[in-house]
Symmetry: C2
Subunit: 238 residues, 2 copies
């Protein structure tokens, strides 16, 4: 939802601000909910407030085939991407920067909401984040595709509450296929690779794209087939 | 935190109830937050309620090395596992059942909070869920380990708002290693595999276990090295 007239622009900015605020507030509450030592009565009171919040905004959800009103998939903006979305409560979020050499990088510190084995990041979270990073690397290279194969080697567990560095780059591409690699390391020791990922992303054939996304509309109900469904993120330059 | 005396048992039950309530309420609010069509003022009001909830429970979080008070890692209960935890807002949750033949199965319907390409599950979410399923399969076989290698083949995207079936089983194991396979299909068409996963899980050597988990304590401050850190879930029989 973008608008060039002043009123529409101001309304969009207000909605974006409130939406980012809610996403950020929810991230803090999620982390509090898994780490709290408060009494049961306080936890129950928090649940009551959460239900009141849902009552404020839950009345008329968009249908699954309708994009979020703040999204601009053609431009790569998706505020509710579950890894990178600025307003998605599940996203840390990863803020993906494009580098001069064509790769992408993101740094993030993960809280206990992402825990697997005690004190470490859940192995599946590494896979979730790397899948997104590989897709973002495709986007940065002007490509897009959907995950066809993903594999990860875990050399060492990732500590929670410690700055991590995620990297990805397109290794090669041919026709509709892109081979993409990525790594995770501590931000303080970026040379020591802790997790390594490789992915094959494939752009669906036109008839598949039509079958997958033919019913997708924007918030105004206009047909809006995504041009880059695999790259769900606005990249930040530099 | 388990207790055999009546008062402690009742307090634990009350806390568990409130904690599950909060987790469930948060899941609903997360889904509402990514699908809402409410006005910006309503979204901002929801954020305010969420901050009030955080103020109720966020005062004294447990440190990262201290297990959640409701957890019993020796028994496999972790209420805040981000995939299977009954009280984790990020978990759908997957409710994992052990089958007579030794495998594990879970059925779940995913909302727009788990979206990648429009109308489909994020490819990384499939990886996250399968990593957990493979770990649960290890646990069901009396094994445990941490993910050393994970790979997935994506044959077809997974639709949102549609019942999915996740399966996993230990293919073979030797010494500290377990090879585990898994699949995702529509619950209505379980024979047609949409995503296939293979994993190698490795139990760390005793000295590694000591290094990884030596500082972990339970909620009472007692040393509590997890016996099965890779299997974070209470399995439901049958």
């Amino acid at each position: 939802m973008t608008s060039n007239d002043d009123d529409g622009g101001a309304a969009t900015a207000e909605l974006l601000t409130a939406t980012i605020e809610l996403g950020g507030a929810l991230r803090e509450l999620i982390e509090a909910s898994v780490t709290t030592t408060a009494a049961a009565t306080e936890v129950a009171a928090a649940a009551e407030l959460v239900r009141a919040a849902t009552a404020r905004i839950g009345g008329a959800p968009r249908p699954v085939s309708q994009l979020a009103r703040l999204d601009d998939p053609a431009g790569g903006l998706r505020v509710f991407n579950p890894v990178t979305g600025v307003a998605h409560p599940l996203a840390p979020p990863l803020v993906v920067h494009q580098e001069d050499d064509g790769g992408v990088v993101a740094e993030v510190t993960l809280g206990l909401a992402y825990e697997g084995p005690p004190t470490f990041v859940h192995g599946g979270m590494s896979a979730l984040f790397m899948d997104q990073m590989l897709g973002s690397a495709a986007g940065a290279a002007g490509l897009w595709g959907m995950t066809a194969h993903l594999e990860l080697d875990y050399r060492s567990p990732l500590p929670l509450q410690t700055a991590l560095q995620f990297r990805a780059r397109v290794a090669s591409h041919e026709g509709r296929k892109a081979f993409i690699t990525g790594t995770i390391a501590l931000a303080a020791a970026p040379e020591k690779i802790l997790v390594e990922a490789r992915g094959l992303f494939v752009m669906p054939r036109p008839e598949k794209q039509a079958a997958y996304f033919g019913s997708v509309t924007d918030a105004a109900g206009r047909h809006a087939p995504p041009r880059r469904p695999g790259d769900a993120t606005a990249l930040q330059q530099g």
